[in-house]
């Protein structure tokens, strides 16, 4: 044995290394599911997760969004300037399209905390794609589109392009080489915030959004 370990780290690692060796098994094959109709699977699972899906097109999404927001009486929508959707909304509002008051997430959370925690009714984000198997949205928040935008407002609206659907998480992680560069925070979101801690009764919006709306941007010509 070498000199007595003098830190918890050395002591723990020392004990683990002194333990009898054990062979590690090879990973047995596992074939994650694939779906002939990814969109149908996604729709079914996302709706089962209590998400609301609206089919839109690249041409009409903004107009459809305005209608949805109006119908729900959303007063303040937080958006991410510097993202295509956020900029489009800000431009539209400037041109007089009837939209709720837009609150840009353009400063740090320390500055915007009160608005985020107490004032905005909805937040709009893009997505990096989605997973058909579980009806899950993939978000990699960025400097332009911060993490809390999908979490603090009571309504989360996420824009999803139809051609970014994947079968499973295993497939996305592998195909997109996630291991080569993970962001600060990668998120999988499957429906609105929920709990069943009280008598296994489902209740939504316990901490995060009470509702999740997915604007599904269909491919042209469909």
């Amino acid at each position: 044995m070498s000199a007595p370990p003098n830190t918890a780290r050395d002591a723990i690692l020392g004990r683990l290394k002194a333990a009898p060796g054990r062979p590690g098994p090879d990973l047995p094959p596992w074939t994650p599911p694939t779906y002939a109709d990814k969109l149908a699977r996604f729709r079914q699972m996302a709706e089962a997760n209590h998400a609301e899906i609206h089919d839109v097109t690249a041409a009409n999404w903004l107009e459809r969004l305005a209608t949805i927001l109006n119908n729900r009486g959303v007063g303040r929508l937080m958006v991410a300037p510097g993202t295509p959707r956020g900029d489009a909304l800000l431009r539209a509002a400037a041109q007089g399209v009837p939209l709720p008051t837009l609150v840009p997430y353009d400063q740090s959370v320390e500055v915007l905390k009160d608005a985020l925690v107490h004032q905005v009714d909805a937040g709009l984000t893009g997505t990096r794609g989605a997973i058909a198997e579980t009806g899950t949205l993939i978000l990699w928040p960025t400097a332009q589109e911060p993490r809390l935008l999908s979490l603090l407002p009571p309504l989360h609206i996420a824009v999803l392009e139809e051609d970014t659907l994947h079968d499973t998480l295993a497939a996305v992680v592998r195909d997109q080489g996630w291991a080569a560069g993970m962001p600060t925070n990668a998120l999988l979101i499957s429906g609105p915030s929920k709990t069943s801690d009280i008598e296994q009764t489902l209740a939504y919006g316990v901490h995060g959004p009470k509702e999740l709306i997915i604007l599904l941007v269909r491919k042209e010509g469909e």
Binding site: R22, T168, T184, S196, I198, H207
Partner: protein, 491 residues
């Protein structure tokens, strides 16, 4: 805690003595039965195809087994990746050390209030109490944890901490503890009340503390899963995030995560996936507008490296804390989590408590099982819980030693050693290995066994709820001889 005067610490009544309280509480039994029946049905619905389930769990078990086979190496890789990512890594041998580390980080940051996501390791540490003793307020934000914190209780289940409480009990509690809230039987209203209170706590917290479900060595990523969003809030809104976890949570690659994620929520609550899967790889980077500016990871040993010394017992460390074993346990279902008087209840607790806390602290828990195998049947990482219970029963009466240290492999090994019991089994062995003696003894029992009085030792316990078993005048050996079944195998 060390007791005075060299006396063994008092671990309170044993499981057998605690159980009647729960068994005689019809409300508690209804709460658990209802909840566990629901969870079992929901889990079963998630694994409709036995072949796929078998394939998936083989993979999940192998991922964890492989990670354990390289544990020290993976921990070092995890540490260096996280450090490169800007996350500060700390190591704690004991829960006391872990508490001190967390307290030190908070004090250095001048933090006064902490918001917590659900973490069983922090329960192991009794972290909240420790922080409170040092003037730091820690508020649980998972709804179930918040409820039991208000009630001053401990979790009775590792996934659904307040499963022992029904709606009425929770409404009474909220009406009493939340100013201005009327008593309500509406779950949505109760949930909304908790949201209102906890929102403010989140907004004002100086730090967030969370657990970790999986730590990926390859990328330096902490994976946390949850449904409520409180985990995301705890790890995103306050300026400081401290994650606490056991050293066994590390896996090798990011590709190891999908099979484990496919197993964990399905096994736990019968969900295909939790609402949120939160993968954290670094603190807020320059230009980013939110997220904590400092992230710390505290790696707790807490007895795990001792478990690791024994290759068989180390299977315990594969556990991903899904709670399926307790949901399916006929004992847990009837007595609930508090009867175990331990951080981890149910089948996983019965093998973990003796190993982390010692056989003295675990008392008769390794024997509080019929070895029915319901737990092993559903465990997503194939931990042979019944076999490990048998192993621990053995360690309690006839401890094995770790070659390097000459210490018992399990703390307090030999705690249940008993000369009378050893003698009984020595006698049993003598009789059952000598055919002639065996036939003499069984014949004697056939003749006189029924005269054993109902209040004889063991028989007394047996006959509390059952009639005496009846010895038959002729044994099967006798009948087989009469009917000509004693013939030889033809050559």
């Amino acid at each position: 805690m060390v007791a005075d005067g060299g006396m063994p610490p008092d671990h309170g009544p044993r499981f057998a003595e605690r159980a009647p309280d729960a068994l005689n509480n019809p409300q508690l039994r209804r709460n658990f039965r209802r909840a566990m029946d629901g969870l079992m049905a929901k889990r079963a619905a998630q694994f409709p195809d036995p072949a796929y389930w078998a394939e998936l769990r083989e993979r999940g078990a192998a991922v964890k087994a492989r990670a354990l086979s390289r544990l020290p190496d993976l921990l070092e890789r995890l540490e260096s990746r996280l450090t490169a990512n800007g996350v500060q890594v700390h190591w704690a041998e004991t829960t006391e050390e872990a508490n001190a580390i967390v307290l030190g980080i908070l004090q250095q940051a001048g933090a006064r209030t902490v918001i917590k996501g659900k973490s069983m390791v922090s329960e192991e540490m009794h972290l909240n109490a420790h922080l409170e003793r040092h003037g730091i307020e820690a508020v649980e934000s998972d709804l179930g944890e918040y409820i039991i914190q208000l009630a001053g209780e401990t979790p009775s289940h590792i996934v659904m901490p307040c499963i022992h409480k029904n709606k009425d009990e929770i409404s009474d509690l909220f009406a009493e503890k939340i100013p201005g809230l009327e008593r309500t039987g509406d779950v949505d209203e109760l949930t909304a009340a908790a949201r209102r209170v906890l929102r403010e706590r989140f907004a004002n917290a100086d730090a967030g503390i969370s657990g970790v479900n999986f730590a990926v060595a390859e990328t330096g990523t902490l994976v946390l899963i949850e449904n409520e969003g409180n985990g995301r809030l705890s790890t995103t809104l306050p300026p400081l995030h401290i994650a606490v976890t056991g050293i066994e949570k590390v896996v090798e690659t990011l590709d190891d995560i999908p099979p484990l994620l496919a197993l964990l929520p399905r096994s736990a609550t019968g969900q295909p996936i939790t609402t949120y899967v939160n993968m954290i790889s670094s603190p807020r980077k320059a230009g980013e507008k939110d997220g904590p500016t400092a992230v710390h990871l505290v790696l707790l040993d807490g007895g795990r490296s001792r478990v690791y010394q024994d290759v068989e017992l180390a299977d315990t460390l594969r556990c991903i804390r899904c709670a399926a074993c307790m949901n399916h346990c006929p004992v847990y279902t009837r007595v609930g989590g508090h009867t175990y008087n331990a951080i981890y209840p149910g089948p996983i607790g019965k093998i973990l408590t003796p190993q982390l806390q010692g056989l003295d602290a675990a008392g008769d828990q390794p024997h509080a099982s019929t070895l029915c195998n319901a737990c092993a049947e559903v465990c997503p990482v194939k931990i042979p819980i019944p076999d490990l219970l048998v192993r621990l029963r053995r360690e309690a009466v006839r401890p094995t030693e770790t070659p390097a240290t000459h210490l018992p492999v399990v703390k307090d090994g030999g705690a249940e050693r008993s000369w009378t019991e050893s003698l009984v089994w020595a006698g049993w062995r003598l009789v059952y290995t000598r055919p002639l003696l065996y036939r003499m003894v069984t014949r004697a029992l056939a003749w006189g066994g029924n005269w054993v009085p109902a209040n004889a030792p063991l028989m007394r316990d047996w006959t509390k709820a059952r009639a005496k078993p009846r010895f038959k005048p002729r044994t099967l050996h006798d009948l087989a001889r009469e009917r000509g079944y004693l013939n030889e195998v033809p050559k």
